[in-house]
Amino acid sequence: MQRKMLFAAALAGVMGASGLAQAEPTEITLWHAMGGRLGEVVDEMTAEFNASQDEYKLTSIYKGGYEDTMTAAIAAFRAGQQPDVVQVFDAGSATIINAPGAVFPVEDLMKKYGVGFDIDAYIPGVRYFYADSDGKMIGMPFNSSTPLLYFNKEALTKAGVEPPKTWEDFEAIAPKLVEAGYVPLAQSHSPWIFAENFHSRHNIQMATANNGFDSTDVKILYNNDAMKMHWSKVKDWKDKGYYGYYGRNWGDNQDAFVQGKVAMWLGSSGSFGGLRKSADFDFGTTYLPYWESITKDPKGTFIGGAALFALSGKSDEEYKGVAKFFEYMTKPETQFFWHKETGYVPITTDAYALAKKAGYYDETPDAEVGIQQLSLPAGEWTKGYRLGYYVQIREVMYKHFEQLLNGDETVDAAFDGIETESDELLDRFKDTYN
């Protein structure tokens, strides 16, 4: 058995080596987290890229959720088996950007192997989200989304109300929606929408050290009055039946909206394509509501979603292929296709212009809401954030939000908990990555 194993190892080695030597075209691999309809679109784009040239062959592999994909990439990297490109989500970006030597920065890659790089070609909202502290773009924004309010038009008409602009509006219309037989609001992913983007929308600082961009020596600032006010309202809404919580999984909350049980749902602009297929009613989209009592001048939201990172340790040949692939991905036509099929926003100004020119927004004005929201005037705290172990910090938030919602914790206790536990994690991250 042992001998057989060694033989298998040797065989794998030989095959790997000869595979490289004869490979024509050069193989490049992408690991991504785009399931469902999104995955089908990625497959179509992969096929198109492969058909567009014959020097490189791209293989796209779906690795499960965002966390699973990142985990798999890390494990593979440690074993020297990493893919050329991996999709890493917003919350994981600190882990990859702060580890010097793990990534080939996209800006350097494009300059060295590609057609050059111009950060200003990207729309303002996405430019610096995946950049390092010097403003160099490290990961290429790929599926950039932003939280939107989806509303069931039929439900709103039945209740005789308009979609809310502010949370004050929402409080006014919620009783009418309840009367009409709906749960007024549900949401997928509360840390993303009711914490991170809450801060961006109201232009509130969420962490010290310039939201974490300047240093890993950083403290979380979630324990603030605006957040606490908002969450005591959310708790209140849940108790009054204005707010339905169907669990952490994205799907169950979205399904409640699709079933027509929930009148309005906070989701991602990237959900647009899927909803168009699954919902059997007319729905519209609008900006993420804000509190007029906090600000009269709401700002844009963060981009969410994920970016593509070229991992280090690959050959020149493969990097050339990666550069080529990135070039293909940022082409206006590709971006427009991606935008149209999924609802993720186009990441370059050219692509946005193309979508406008093609008349896409005349047919489906709702598809433009996401990018319009991202293009709202920027504030001091709308650039993004860079926080270590943020995956765990989101877990911490979920935990306390859930305890708050079911009445196990007061709002104060929940946010004290979030602050202490997040700071401990940030502290561990600082000591690990310095």
Binding site: A9, G36, I61, K63, G80, G251, K277
Partner: protein, 281 residues
């Protein structure tokens, strides 16, 4: 029938319902359309989508799991189940044979080394185990999937006990006939162990088929996914949502995942029970 016996039957029937109903609902719901399940809830009786759903799950690439076809995954599970069972039996039988039938210096020490495996479940060494397999270049290979799992203290204990119970006279007689250790093993011990091997085989096949954590970590290529990993992927797709949940296909996948090991257990029930009683001891 006496009232006491009626109560016995009622309790047993309730127990059976508790065991069977969940999978029954999975089976019946797997024959409906996504629309029906989504609008009307899970179904207790069969629908008319049996062929469509199972065909989609078995044959369509990127169906409910967004990865391989269930057919491919079933094949991988079969290899894992067989490899796991055969591997465990072979190496633990050999080790037990050495320990029981040979006088050699390190016997005791080696026995304790094997015993250590009981103390080190996969969960406590998962990250480094992955690194080892990766360094050997065994990621996404059947070897890498199976070999790290087949060391087994329980298997070795079990055969050790069994060999000890074999009468010494057999060995004496064999030696008088001039049989060496290999001849003795093949001609005498193997035939005697047949039932035991079959019993252990059933248990180990089921255990191998149902492995979760290890395949989850070490298969990064979807052509290597087992059906149980397919279940995880189906769950992931439902979790993330974005489309009308394909609950019917998820259920079809669960039925396909349980059918082979359940059939094995039912067909070989006698051996299965015996193997379970012997191997867990």
């Amino acid at each position: 029938m006496k009232p006491r016996q009626i109560i016995d039957h009622i309790v047993l029937i309730l127990g059976c319902l508790f065991m069977v109903l969940p999978v029954w609902i999975a089976l019946t719901s797997s024959t409906h359309s996504a629309e029906t399940l989504f609008r009307e809830g899970l179904q207790l009786w069969f629908g008319d989508q049996f062929v469509e759903n199972y065909r989609a799950v078995l044959l369509e690439q990127g169906g409910v799991t967004k990865t391989s076809t269930a057919l491919r995954m079933l094949f991988n599970s079969l290899i894992l189940g067989l490899g796991f069972a055969v591997g465990k039996i072979v190496i633990s039988m050999l080790a037990a044979y050495a320990i029981v039938y040979f006088r050699f210096k390190m016997a005791e020490f080696l026995f304790w080394i094997i015993f250590l495996t009981l103390l080190l479940p996969l969960e406590v060494r998962i990250v480094p185990s992955y690194a080892v397999v990766a360094q050997l270049g065994l990621l996404n290979t059947y070897t890498g999937l199976i070999v790290p799992l087949i060391a087994s203290a329980t298997g070795t204990f079990f055969f050790r006990q069994f060999f000890k119970s074999v009468p010494d006279e057999l060995l004496e007689a064999a030696r008088i006939d001039g049989a060496g250790p290999i001849r003795f093993f093949i001609d005498i011990l193997l035939p005697l162990s047949k039932t035991m091997m079959a019993a252990i085989f059933i248990i180990m096949f089921v255990t191998g088929w149902n492995q979760y954590l290890w395949p989850l970590i070490m298969t990064t290529d979807d052509s290597m996914y087992t059906i149980v990993i397919g279940i995880k992927q189906a769950f992931q797709v439902l979790y993330e949502g974005g489309e009308l949940p394909r609950v019917q296909e998820a259920f079809a996948l669960t039925i396909l995942a349980v059918l082979p090991p359940v059939l094995v257990v039912l067909f070989f029930q006698r051996w299965f029970v015996r193997g379970l009683l012997e191997s867990e001891k």
